[in-house]
């Protein structure tokens, strides 16, 4: 009875996405109400779900349509699995989604066709939530494509020339990645004849790691690498994320690349393919290598940018490198650090992008060399930006510090000392360019007059403050969070085929 709320994660935003075009022909303002109501409902559901799991249950499995698995036959139904890992990422997704929706109420004032924005955003939320709770491989792909297509449309939402160009290039690259994922799914199905993730894990364990298996893994990894902007498939991100409207950039950078890329990949790698550092060290070394390249490339390129949002986009590439590094190292602390960084970066980068949108909307430009002295005119935005940068750069006691600390601890635990050195070094580089942005955008004066601007409207500031407070709280309360939320989530990943036992039993 209690797992009945799982389909609501998908049904509620999907219903809103169908309803919004219908009602917006009569009452255009209703779109804002529907959008924010859905954001609040999803946030409430995910908080309830996480608390439900933290207080005892290991997971909630829901078989759609009532098609429970019959012992002896392969499972026929589509499963929705809400375990500790999904609960964590669902909560982060819905927090950032709620804040982005709250922010959009005033930010969309200089766009036309508000209801189109809300429809697309509802679709992207439905896709993300569906991907996170899906226990079926093809269901994951369908929800991934739903949210990806909505994101392509949202990136090009402003329909300026550069935004359309960025949207088109993002779309071609992203869809080739999607086709690669479908190809990998086809190869896996050809071997195992089942799509349920738990059953697939068991069948693949029975078949063993043939060359065809590795080819399928490689193709899937290629597809997910495009979705998460892993170097060398990152070229779409610096064009796409700045071109999107600010709440969409916040959602894409903070949530989408992590869920569609890192979560989907790690769910498959750890729980279905049952790879671990002990059994496939080459694969994990490859992940570490790619993570390091992303950190270095993203960090160095971020330092050279003049455009506010483009710098933040390169920073996203760098931080995804940290998450990949943590997953690739594979020890318990490293995986905990990677998951903590998913949460911390989601909150902090979302906050930074929302701040950049406020600056762009109020001051009229994104060029760092032309802004000056905004701290006096936009104090709330400026100080929340400072706190967000501190969290992202890894300054204690914010959340970002603990996530990078755990990753470095994991690296030392696995005796990869030079990896730890590079991670710490580029944490310093992150601090450097974020300080540069904060200084140039808000605190520096050139000439005598600050750039004319007013403080951002109330709902926008409120959304940013929510994210600031959560970043600070996540850092201060890291001890109970790690013990209660992050460590069980990491254990779900590291348990490998224990996922199958959890879903199918026995």
């Amino acid at each position: 009875m209690d797992s009945n709320f799982l389909p609501l994660f998908v049904a509620v935003p999907l219903a809103a996405a169908f309803l919004t075009p219908l009602v917006s022909k009569f009452w255009p303002k209703l779109a804002d109400v529907i959008g924010n109501a859905v954001g609040a409902v999803l946030l409430g559901l995910s908080a309830y779900g996480l608390l439900y799991l933290v207080t005892g249950t290991e997971s909630l499995v829901y078989w759609v349509g009532g098609w429970r698995p019959v012992p002896g036959l392969p499972p026929l139904g589509i499963a929705m699995v809400y375990d500790r890992l999904s609960a964590l990422v669902v909560l982060v997704t819905n927090i950032v989604g709620f804040c982005a929706l709250l922010y959009s109420v005033r930010y969309l004032d200089h766009f036309t066709a508000r209801w189109k924005f809300y429809t697309l955003f509802m679709l992207i939320l439905a896709g993300m939530n569906g991907l996170l709770i899906s226990g079926d491989l093809f269901n994951m792909f369908v929800f991934l494509e739903i949210s990806a297509i909505a994101s392509y449309a949202l990136v090009a939402f402003g329909t300026e020339a550069e935004e359309l160009e960025a949207g088109f290039k993002y779309m071609v690259l992203g869809e080739v990645g999607g086709a690669a994922i479908l190809f990998g799914i086809a190869l896996l199905y050809a071997q195992a004849s089942t799509l349920n993730l738990a059953d697939l894990g068991r069948q693949l364990a029975g078949i063993g790691q043939t060359p065809l298996f590795w080819f399928a893994v490689g193709t899937l990894l290629l597809g997910f690498a495009v979705k998460m902007a892993m170097v060398p498939f990152h070229s779409w991100l610096p064009d796409a994320h700045p071109s999107a409207p600010a709440p969409v950039s916040a959602f894409l950078s903070g949530v989408f690349i992590k869920v569609a890329g890192v979560y989907a990949m790690s769910r498959l790698v750890f729980n279905v393919f049952d790879l671990s550092r002990a059994t496939a060290p080459v694969f994990f070394d490859l992940l570490v290598g790619f993570g390091l390249v992303s950190i270095v490339a993203g960090g160095l390129l971020a330092n050279a940018q003049r455009d506010y949002k483009r710098l933040l986009a390169y920073s996203s590439i760098s931080q995804i490198g940290y998450v990949l590094l943590g997953l690739g190292i594979g020890t318990e602390w490293a995986v905990i650090g990677a998951l903590f960084h998913v949460a911390a970066h989601g909150l902090a980068k979302g906050l930074l992008f929302l701040g950049s949108g406020a600056v762009e909307m109020q001051a009229g430009t994104r060029d760092l060399d032309r802004l000056s002295g905004l701290e006096t005119k936009m104090p709330a935005t400026a100080w929340s930006h400072v706190l967000g940068s501190l969290s992202l750069a890894g300054v204690p006691p914010f959340a970002g510090f603990f996530s990078k600390l755990f990753i470095v601890l994991g690296a030392i635990q696995a005796r990869m000392y030079w990896v730890a050195v590079v991670a710490v070094l580029f944490s310093g580089v992150t601090l450097a360019y974020l300080t540069k942005v904060t200084h140039k955008a808000f605190f520096r004066r050139q000439g005598t007059e600050p750039t004319p601007a007013r403080e951002a409207p109330g709902t926008m500031v409120a959304a940013m403050i929510v994210l600031v407070v959560l970043s600070v709280l996540a850092g201060l309360a890291f001890q109970p969070l790690v013990a209660g939320v992050f460590r069980p989530a990491a254990e779900v990943l590291l348990n490998g085929l224990g996922y199958a036992r959890m879903v199918l039993g026995g």
Binding site: A11, L14, P21
Partner: protein, 146 residues
């Protein structure tokens, strides 16, 4: 584009009706023969596109056609979700096959629980949606005024 010659209009009037009927047949028999909602919806959309091209209702009625198809698309999607949620109420499972609808013998036309109704909803949605895509791509000067 002011529509086409009278020969085309006569043939299009016949063909659009037949296409519509055939699309409806494929949608309704979705639980017995291949096809179902998607394929039938594409045929319905083809009928609508044929009618729109042949009769050249471009300048005057494109806007209302677009609004019309948008409404139907939303209704189709909501109908599908409503059917899925009906599973909640009757059988305590999302998307359960509510056996009170369309109860009948196997392999008859009226059978199969909510599956024919779901096919109809999908057929409406896909048909309206593809027609809206055609309008948006082909007549975007008139449609993208919002």
């Amino acid at each position: 584009m002011r529509g086409m010659s009278p020969i085309v209009r006569v043939i299009a009037r016949l063909m659009a009706g037949m296409l519509f009927l055939y699309g409806g047949y494929i949608v309704l028999h979705g639980h017995l023969t291949p096809g179902g909602g998607f394929a039938g919806g594409v045929l319905v959309a083809a009928a609508l596109v044929l009618g729109s091209l042949a009769f050249g209702s471009v300048e005057s009625t494109e806007r209302s056609s677009y609004v019309f198809s948008s409404i139907f698309e939303s209704l189709g999607g909501l109908g599908f979700l409503g059917l899925a949620l009906a599973g909640y109420m009757a059988g305590n499972m999302f998307f359960n096959n509510v056996r009170t609808f369309f109860r009948g013998q196997e392999l008859a036309l009226v059978s199969g629980g909510i599956i024919p109704l779901a096919n109809i909803a999908i057929g409406i949605k896909v048909g309206a949606g593809l027609f809206a895509i055609f309008l948006a791509l082909g007549a975007s000067r008139f449609v993208m005024k919002e």
